[in-house]
């Protein structure tokens, strides 16, 4: 087998965090190569390095045996390396034909001319797409076809797909796979990133697994089993920072029951319960609908009006149109993206904390009281050990850990009875991680119903009294942290 594309010790870091760590990689001509790994394992960054989206910081890329200078995706595309993203890069308001010839129009461009050329070209690929259709009217699979056709038209010898099947229906997925087979028979080498193990085993010739920015395994798909792949994906030393739990708290009163809840295609008929005095861990990969489910419970999103299922909170059915009444009832959601929807960046710590009190209507006076704000800030910066240079610092100037503590403080001030932490330690320094974990345990000890959403398995294992696993928009399995292995849980999440 000849290699068409090779990476030698390819390295890339963002702000000092190594995302891709000295990866060696070989892509054979005419093969389909699946790239697997957990969220944050470095798959996307690695493939973007190959496609020239990012310049590498170390190592080199060999293309057809010669070193390749990465100078932007357009130049790479001209040389024959194309990347197809999840969000397609087509122009929705133009026809398929116009999109195919985008950037390669002649000075006098006749619509009829390119439509005929596009028709002939699509037929030669055996793609059934109408060249006069507007891209905005096409489904996800057909859009992907157009994108692939564009890559093939530019004579791409390597096509990289970033999670191509994540948004497809089963029907569209079958179309996509037959497309991959046709490309392979034309001699195109393909890399595709996926979370679905079955797909990878079924479709690809070889499989590479990445973990923590390193390549941990590359083998022929025929020699691999799902079990071995999962082990390679999870197989970090468990765990320097956290220890898994030895005993769990018993379930208290049932605080929340979710039955058959659906929202579009993101959440599909999910059902589960949450109990007081316990930490319920919700594990799932990106796209498993865990954040969306949490936001439905907290009133940020609305579940489907028809056949949307039922949610009961403290024994009575609820359907919140906005987060306001949910907060008033004691349901508080702590966001995974604190900069986007967590804190008020131009305001001080005190103002942020006080905002929580005001929004829940728990302030003592009918008007804004600076004295109340100051004493509140004193109590909570002390309680949560928020460290800053002077209390007047704007939140945006704090470290990630202290920002997260402000966001958590703001939520706790609202006196929740059910609190949902979405990725509570994302972008948080190690010291603060331990403090936040201790705080979460304390809240459960105090009798709150606590939900922790995380895609970091060791965190889930260290915190939870029960572990729920979400996949493709629903909770699919429940584990006890004392007798489930991390392989079992990961298997349920990717299966």
């Amino acid at each position: 087998m000849t290699s068409i594309l090779q990476a030698r010790a390819l390295t890339k870091a963002f702000h000092g965090n190594v995302a891709v760590d000295a990866v060696d990689f070989d892509l054979h001509a005419g093969e389909v190569h699946a790239l697997l790994g957990e969220n944050g394992a470095g798959k996307s960054t690695f493939s973007k390095l190959l496609a020239g989206v990012y310049p590498p910081e170390g190592g080199e890329i060999l293309y057809l045996g010669k070193p390749l200078q990465a100078d932007g995706p357009a130049e790479m595309l001209r040389r024959g390396i194309a990347m197809v993203y999840q969000e397609t890069s087509l122009v929705p308001s133009m026809t398929v034909a116009q999109n195919l010839f985008l950037g390669h129009e002649k000075a006098f461009n006749r619509l009829r001319g390119i439509t005929i050329a596009a028709q002939q070209f699509l037929q030669s690929l055996n793609f059934t797409v109408d060249p006069t259709a507007l891209v905005s009217s096409l489904g996800a699979a057909k859009r992907q076809m157009v994108e692939i056709a564009r890559a093939v038209r530019l004579n791409a010898k390597v096509i990289i797909f970033d999670e191509p099947t994540a948004t497809l229906t089963p029907e569209e997925r079958r179309h996509f796979f037959s497309l991959i087979n046709r490309l392979r028979s034309r001699g195109v080498a393909i890399i595709f990133i996926t979370h679905a193990l079955e797909e990878a085993l079924q479709m690809s010739d070889r499989i590479t697994v990445m973990r923590d920015g390193k390549r941990v395994l590359t083998e022929n798909a025929g020699d691999l089993t799902q079990g071995r792949i999962v082990q390679a994906m999870v197989g970090r030393e468990l765990e320097t920072e956290f220890s898994p739990r030895s005993e769990t708290r018993p379930a208290g009163k049932r605080v929340l029951s979710v039955e058959d809840v659906s929202m579009g295609t993101l959440v599909r008929n999910t059902s589960f319960s949450v109990f007081a005095g316990q930490v319920t861990g919700l594990f799932g990969l990106v796209g498993s609908g865990r954040t969306e489910t949490a936001k439905i419970i907290a009133g940020v999103f609305k579940r489907d009006f028809l056949r949307g299922g039922a949610i009961a909170y403290e024994g009575r059915p609820v359907r919140y149109a906005t987060p306001g009444p949910a907060v008033a009832d004691g349901i508080v959601y702590v966001t995974e993206d604190r900069k986007l929807e967590g804190f008020f960046e131009n305001m001080s710590i005190a103002e942020n904390l006080y905002a929580g009190l005001l929004a829940a209507g728990l302030n003592r006076f009918p008007f804004v009281s600076i004295a109340e704000m100051k004493s509140l800030a004193e109590v909570w910066t002390d309680k949560l050990a928020i460290r800053s240079i002077g209390g007047e610092a704007r939140v945006v100037e704090l470290s990630g850990g202290n920002q997260q503590k402000v966001v958590i403080g703001k939520a706790l001030i609202q006196k929740p009875r059910l609190i949902i932490f979405d990725e509570p330690t994302r972008g948080v320094d190690v010291g603060a991680v331990a403090e936040i974990h201790a705080l979460i345990q304390r809240l459960a000890d105090e009798g709150l119903a606590v939900v922790v959403i995380s895609s970091y398995l060791p965190e889930i294992l260290a915190l939870s009294d029960r572990i729920l696993v979400a996949r493709q928009g629903r909770v699919v399995e429940e584990f006890s942290p004392t007798d489930a292995s991390s392989e079992d849980i990961m298997y349920a999440a990717v299966h």
């Binding site: 940020v300 906005t322 306001g324 907060v327 929807e341 008020f344 131009n346 305001m347 929580g356 804004v368």
Partner: protein, 328 residues
């Protein structure tokens, strides 16, 4: 970060603009005869007051990360209808009551379009401005300038009334600023408005009723527009509907931006409105005494606005996140 350096912290846009106003005032006082005469000083304050009331309303909306381009239209239309009703023989109270309802209705319309129909504030108010004025001018009003009728003696009297030697429109401006200042600083909805302007998504997630708040801010700006219209009508004894086609709206935005209420929301307050209005008032007055033609006045105002916006960008650098969410 500039705010960590104490020296730079003093030079906020507010203090720079205040400094500019003082320098400009001193310059005009030395260079222009009669600039510092008491009558002219009163003129400055008076010319500022209608602008200032409008800017207070605009400021409230902009703090919540919106913009209301229909203010001048609402100001003209509501007062014109009120005067027309008076001419038709309605009593002052009944005309005022019906116009109050219309004003609140217009504010609600703007607010609902932005908060519930999800139209961007820029386009919603631009369209409602053209629609409201076009409809009323073509269907209800018969002439461009509507005078206060002789029968409405109390309105005519208000125009001449003085409190502590100050004309009424100045008193109204001061009262509006004072009330808005107190509400923005010390009321819950006032604080919510800042939170919403700073980070809409965070405000919503933590349980603040953001959509009613948007509606309320547009109702407030509509009511203030009406008030500004009355202040202007009683001092001029009439309402000229051609005001809609003037640069007044532009001046209002100028006052708000130059005063330092960032268009990205969540910043500034009534102090900035006062400072901005003072600078513009002094500038307009000086240019009028100098007898500069209108085109040149507009040129100078445009240059100052551009300078203020560039300065704002330097002093309050927007990060990636804010620019993604859009500054309007």
């Amino acid at each position: 970060m500039p705010s960590n350096r104490p020296l730079l912290r003093i030079f906020t846009q507010e203090t720079i603009v205040l400094l500019m106003a003082v320098v400009l005032f001193a310059g005009f006082a030395v260079a222009l005869d009669g600039f510092t005469a008491p009558a002219n000083l009163l003129n400055i304050v008076r010319s500022v007051s209608v602008l200032g009331i409008l800017a207070a309303g605009m400021g409230i909306v902009v703090i919540g990360r919106g913009i209301d381009l229909s203010m001048v239209s609402i100001m003209v239309v509501t007062v014109a209808i009120q005067l027309q009703l008076l001419q038709a023989g309605w009593s002052l109270w009944s005309a005022t009551a019906i116009v109050a309802v219309i004003t609140v209705g217009l504010g609600l319309m703007n607010g609902f379009m932005v908060a519930y129909a999800g139209v961007s504030a820029l386009f919603a108010t631009l369209a409602s401005s053209a629609f409201v004025f076009g409809f009323v001018r073509s269907q209800i009003l018969t002439q461009d300038v509507i005078y206060i009728p002789e029968t409405a003696g109390s309105l005519l009297w208000l125009g001449k009334a003085r409190l502590f030697d100050l004309p009424l429109d100045v008193i109204v401006f001061l009262a509006v600023v004072l009330i808005a200042l107190v509400l923005l600083r010390w009321s819950r909805p006032g604080r919510f408005l800042y939170l919403m302007g700073d980070n809409f998504q965070a405000a919503r997630t933590m349980g603040i009723p953001v959509r009613p708040l948007i509606v309320a801010s547009f109702v407030a700006s509509a009511v203030l527009a009406w008030l500004a219209g009355i202040a202007s009508a009683v001092s001029l004894q009439s309402m000229n509907t051609r005001l809609v086609n003037s640069a007044l709206l532009y001046d209002v935005v100028l006052v708000v931006v130059i005063g330092g209420i960032g268009l990205s929301g969540g910043k500034g307050g009534m102090r900035n409105v006062v400072v901005g209005a003072l600078l513009i008032g002094i500038l307009l007055n000086g240019m009028t005494i100098l007898n500069l033609p209108n085109i040149h006045q507009n040129l100078i105002k445009a240059l100052i606005l551009l300078g203020a916006i560039i300065l704002d960008g330097q002093l309050n650098p927007r990060d990636e996140q804010t620019s993604q969410q859009g500054d309007i």
